[in-house]
């Protein structure tokens, strides 16, 4: 069967994460939540440590901790805290506590790299089911709430006047973010999840006239980065997660340069 090939499983895993992370990443970019994504992702390592300690599923541990972090940050936002400082404190403390926590557990020290940078080549059929389940869930959630999310992103007051509660839409994004983090650990690792959210969306911006176009183009760019990165890492024998992010970054450089060049020629 085709899923027996580890490269096919890796490609499918990368695609699943790419398709969910790109549209969500567009909201992260529009709402200036980049650091928020980072904090959520870093909290996941704490979830991994707890899951290992209690012999629970890594996915569940990461999901719960991401959700806790994302809701904490969401509820603190807008209460007059200096958000960038607060996020910096929370993100890096969560990461540090997670790393220390993992070090207490005997025998998993070697696996740490897999959680920090992903281990896409070791994706099992079970992992694949979790990744695609999560990805389809996130995309369905975003499609369902799309208009309300977009209105709330543009202006919370405008949303209120239309009978949309922006706090609920924030919750939807929080939940989606936690889901994406939990499914992306295996693919790119906690340190680079934020990159998978932001880089494809940023690369899509110069090519897009509407929010929908931007999300679709970001999906295409993220998929290309996932497949291109996998191929490149296989050939160059480089770590796969970081290679995927490198390809995404190169695509970003390409669209930005293209935009600037067309601007110059246009003049």
């Amino acid at each position: 069967m085709i899923l027996d090939d580890f490269l096919v499983r890796a490609a499918l895993a990368g695609l699943g994460v790419a398709l969910a992370a790109a549209p969500l990443g567009s909201f992260v970019v529009w709402r200036r939540m980049a650091y928020f994504g980072d904090a959520t992702a870093h909290a996941a390592i704490l979830g991994v440590a707890l899951a290992l300690a209690f012999d629970a599923s890594i996915f569940a541990g990461a999901l719960v901790m991401s959700l806790v972090m994302a809701s904490t940050v969401s509820s603190l936002a807008g209460r007059g805290f200096a958000m960038d400082t607060l996020l910096g404190v929370l993100a890096h403390s969560a990461l540090a506590f997670g790393l220390v926590g993992v070090s207490f557990l005997s025998g998993v020290r070697i696996d740490l790299m897999a959680y920090l940078f992903g281990d896409i080549l070791a994706v099992s059929r079970g992992d694949l089911a979790v990744i695609w389940g999560g990805a389809v869930g996130v995309v369905a959630l975003l499609v369902w709430r799309w208009q309300a999310l977009l209105t709330a992103t543009l202006s919370p007051d405008l949303a209120w006047s239309e009978g949309i509660d922006p706090r609920r839409e924030q919750m939807v994004l929080t939940l989606a973010l936690a889901l994406v983090v939990a499914v992306a650990i295996k693919v790119v690792g906690v340190l680079l999840i934020a990159a998978m959210l932001i880089v494809p969306a940023a690369a899509a911006r110069p090519l897009s006239a509407t929010p929908e176009r931007m999300a679709m183009i970001a999906m295409a760019i993220a998929s290309a980065a996932a497949l291109g990165g996998l191929a490149a890492s296989f050939r160059l024998d480089t770590p796969t997660g970081p290679t995927i992010v490198c390809v995404a970054a190169l695509l970003f450089a390409l669209t930005m340069t293209g935009k600037n060049l067309s601007g110059i020629i246009g003049k």
Binding site: Q147, T151, L154, D157, E162, A201, A202, R205, A209
Partner: protein, 247 residues
């Protein structure tokens, strides 16, 4: 039954009570303007009426099925968010392209559907905001200093458009403004706000009221007093629009 009625409304932001004991109601087809100094809670009152800030006391009652069109004070569109005029008009409900073209036409705008919101001029931007608010044929149009950043002719044109809208669609209008001289002539009723309702009534009556003069007459050393002369003058001669063309 009024379209919307607030009773004994109070709003607390942090430790500061921004509004207290505010009661007001709007009837169909009325144009009501809220005036008041900076920090008097004008925008907070509008936001409380649309449900965007929690009330610490009192309540807001809306007519069943009330449709509100809201034009915010300013709308900042993040540069990372691509947004054509067409897409913006279709928020949060999708529209047929014909309806969008018609909305721009009614707003007195050329076919800007494919332009980016960020590339519009200040006046066009405000007109598009207004056109979006009018998409559903609202019963109540709420405008929060909608002419901020427009020059005098621009804002005079904007208020003329509001009056047309009221005539055409029969909706009530509730707006906040600091352009007293323009607004006074265009309003059926003025509410002078400073944390609470200081005075309220026909523009002429409010302009003569002690409370209003106390808020706007002193401390500005004549700048606003001049405006007051201007509009009381125009009302004396019963030309509500007399100073618009002159500007």
């Amino acid at each position: 039954m009024p379209l919307i009625a607030a009773t004994g409304l109070a709003v607390r932001l942090g430790r500061h009570e921004v509004l207290h004991d505010v009661s007001l109601s709007l009837e169909r087809g009325e144009i009501v303007t809220i005036v008041g100094p900076n920090g008097s809670g004008k925008s907070t009152l509008l936001r409380a009426l649309i449900g965007a800030v929690p009330l610490s006391r009192g309540h807001v009652r809306r007519a069943p099925g009330l449709r509100i069109g809201y034009v915010p004070q300013r709308l900042h569109i993040d540069p990372t968010l691509p947004m054509t005029v067409m897409r913006f008009l279709a928020l949060p409900r999708r529209r047929a392209p014909g309806a969008l073209r018609a909305a721009l036409d009614r707003a007195g705008l050329p076919d800007l559907r494919h332009r980016q919101m960020a590339d519009l001029s200040g006046g066009q931007f405000q007109r598009v905001l207004l056109a979006r608010a009018l998409m559903d044929g609202p019963d109540l149009l709420i405008l929060d200093e909608a002419t901020q950043g427009l020059d005098q002719p621009g804002s005079a044109a904007f208020y003329r458009r509001i009056e047309e809208v009221r005539q055409d669609m029969g909706c009530a209008v509730l707006m906040v403004s600091h352009e007293l001289h323009v607004v006074m002539s265009a309003s059926d009723r003025v509410i002078c706000l400073n944390g609470h309702v200081c005075c309220e009534g026909h523009p002429e009556i409010v302009a003569q009221a002690e409370e209003y003069r106390a808020l706007f007459g002193t401390g500005t050393h004549g700048a606003l007093a001049l405006y007051r002369h201007e509009h009381s003058h125009s009302h004396d001669h019963d030309h509500p629009h007399s100073h618009e063309p002159a500007e």
